[in-house]
């Protein structure tokens, strides 16, 4: 299948005096929701600046939607939306004003920009607050307003820099839900974060970088492997279960109030269920454990080192 890649980085290198921010990155990424993962200082923000044409790479080149950033940065920027990590909105203006002005700055006619600003603020859940000054917004509302200004120009790709930073659990959940929906609107997402859980929740594709070097790039599902471990939650009866399983020849350990058992096949899975039933224990959860992205990240980084 030959889909035009959304992003094509070839030998991308960016050096600052004394620091190599990006080191020979070569990547092709398909349209969709992409998580860009790395610790603080891994080179995520530098990559965003280069994609926007606001920083020139020391070596290599970048294409966004088939357009060479070095040759036509303006053309690339009119296809991108950008949501920075830090606060970046004028505090004394209303959300409607700010978002429609940014719509116009993206090249939309004034009328269309106002209409779209209203639609997008509705989409991100700020419909009732849109005539209030941004200075009075909560962190969650400001994040939504930032997302709205990134979307108002109808971008092909939005660059989200730590979109869940500073949000409470509910705000984070809602932000991730919004990011997740962008994919269904035909907008590709490149989300930089150091929270692997966020990526696991919404991204189809993961790019991990560390110290400016590519660690791994692949579909999220392919990085989550089965481990042969089963997690069982039986409340505080963990020791009873571990002992009973040991008698039946199943290796199990209690950890963090849960039991983790190593199973070889489906028959052993059935055995687990039967043992819990025989002991008359409450069964709250019985699940196959996947590696988390954290583990994949740590393992791949280790392999590279």
């Amino acid at each position: 299948m030959s889909i035009e890649p959304l992003l094509r980085l070839t030998g991308l290198t960016k050096q600052y005096p004394g620091v190599t921010a990006l080191n020979d990155l070569t990547l092709e990424l398909p349209p969709g929701r992409i998580g860009l993962v790395g610790a603080n200082g891994a080179g995520k923000s530098t990559m965003f600046r280069i994609l926007l044409g606001l920083a020139h790479p020391t070596a290599g080149h970048v294409e966004v939607c088939g357009i060479d950033v070095a040759r036509d940065p303006i053309g690339v920027r009119s296809r991108l939306g950008y949501m920075p990590e830090h606060d970046c909105l004028p505090l004394d203006q209303t959300a409607a004003d700010v978002v429609s002005t940014f719509g116009e700055l993206s090249g939309l006619p004034a009328r269309a920009a106002r209409q779209r600003a209203s639609d997008i603020l509705d989409l991100v859940g700020l419909d009732e607050a849109r005539f209030r000054p941004i200075g009075g917004f909560s962190t969650g509302m400001r994040q939504r307003a930032k997302l709205a200004q990134a979307l108002v120009g109808d971008p092909v790709l939005v660059l989200l820099d730590e979109p869940t930073a500073g949000l409470d659990p509910i705000g984070r959940e809602e932000m991730l839900k919004l990011v997740d929906r962008l994919g269904s609107f035909g907008i590709s997402v490149l989300m930089a974060t150091h929270l692997l859980d966020d990526v696991q929740a919404v991204c189809d594709h993961v790019v991990m970088i560390d110290g400016g070097t590519l660690v791994v790039s692949g579909e999220t599902s392919s990085l989550l492997e089965r481990t042969g471990l089963v997690t069982i939650d039986v409340g505080h009866h963990t020791d009873d279960l571990v002992a009973a399983l040991a008698r039946r020849g199943v290796t199990a350990v209690a950890a963090d109030g849960l039991v983790e058992a190593t199973v070889a096949d489906d028959a052993q899975m059935d055995l687990l269920r039967d043992v819990v039933a025989e002991l008359g224990l409450p069964l709250f959860r019985l699940s196959t454990r996947l590696t988390s992205l954290d583990e994949a990240f740590v393992r791949r980084s280790g392999e590279l080192a």
Partner: protein
């Protein structure tokens, strides 16, 4: 109005009694401008901000009070002219040339508005968002200086229109007055343009150096006070003895020398620069120098792309 089917990715509750429609997302398929459109949009947004439009009434007070204040001389002149229309032939408390100088009061406006239009973008970190759009640093500078320059031009020009039309109407023969003052029709706009672009560029350049409005405002006032006072000290009484180069130090006064050249064809005899050989050319050179320095500062502060 917005049918859920017309939008991408919309979910609708499938209930018989009523439905909550999520309007979803509609891609934009209309026309799309590039740098020119973005610059124009920023220009308009900056003008709105400077005039206090779409802002609280308090933000509207300063610009419009100032417009009122600079119009007062015209109204007074026309009013007295009307009252005394049968007694004295030509009545003038303020000439068109002097009136351009009155607009120098708009310096206060620059000290107030240029920082307000420039500083918050840097302080509130809005600049990265702007430069993530089809907009270059030079476009940003053109839009901001253009917006302030336009308002300064309008605020200096409108009172002149009041004065001209008023004088014409109170004169004995309006048509004769008009044909007799045709030169004003190009001299006033040109002099006002020279003045407004100059103040706008200096105001924006100083404001671009800091992200604090109060500091920027104080620097604008400070620069003009300092240079005019020090120039005054150096010049002393020398205007009675053939002028002094010290007059060129007065940054505030530079466009006024050019105004004199535009209206009179030479430096005003009562000016401190009068008597200095090639004074007009020197004033023009200094004017361009200050304008060039301001542009260089602005270019340097908004060369956004790092190499």
């Amino acid at each position: 109005m917005s049918a859920p089917t017309s939008s991408v990715g919309s979910d609708s509750a499938d209930s018989g009694r009523g439905a909550v429609y999520d309007r979803g997302y509609r891609p934009y398929e209309g026309p799309r401008g590039r740098r020119g459109a973005a610059t124009l949009a920023l220009y308009k947004a900056s003008m709105r901000r400077a005039l206090g439009l779409r802002r609280t009434w308090r933000q509207k007070v300063a610009p419009f009070v100032l417009l009122g204040v600079v119009t007062v001389p015209a109204v007074v002149n026309v009013g007295i002219g009307y009252v005394l229309r049968d007694r004295f032939e030509p009545f003038e408390i303020v000439t068109y040339r002097e009136y351009v100088g009155v607009s120098a009061a708009l310096l206060l406006f620059v000290a107030l508005v240029a920082p307000d239009v420039i500083c918050p973008d840097r302080r509130q970190k809005v600049l990265p968002l702007m430069f993530a759009r089809p907009l270059l640093g030079t476009d940003y500078v053109v839009a901001k200086v253009g917006a302030i320059g336009t308002i300064l031009f309008a605020f200096s020009f409108l009172p002149q229109v009041v004065l001209f039309v008023g004088n014409m109407l109170v004169s004995d023969a309006a048509l004769d007055y008009f044909t007799g003052h045709l030169d004003v029709l190009w001299k006033v706009p040109l002099a006002v343009l020279v003045l407004s672009m100059y103040y706008a560029a200096i105001g924006c350049a100083l404001a671009s150096l800091t992200d604090r409005r109060i500091v920027a405002g104080a620097s604008v006032i400070g620069l003009f006070l300092l240079t005019s006072i020090s120039s005054g000290i150096i010049v002393g009484d020398s205007q009675f003895e053939g002028g002094s180069y010290g007059a060129l130090l007065n940054v505030l006064g530079m466009p006024l020398h050019l105004r004199d050249v535009i209206f009179l064809g030479h430096i005003d005899p009562s000016s401190a620069l009068s008597g200095v050989g090639g004074g007009g050319w020197l004033a023009l050179a200094c004017y361009l120098l200050v304008l060039g320095a301001s542009s260089a500062v602005l270019w340097w502060r908004y060369r956004w792309v790092e190499r």
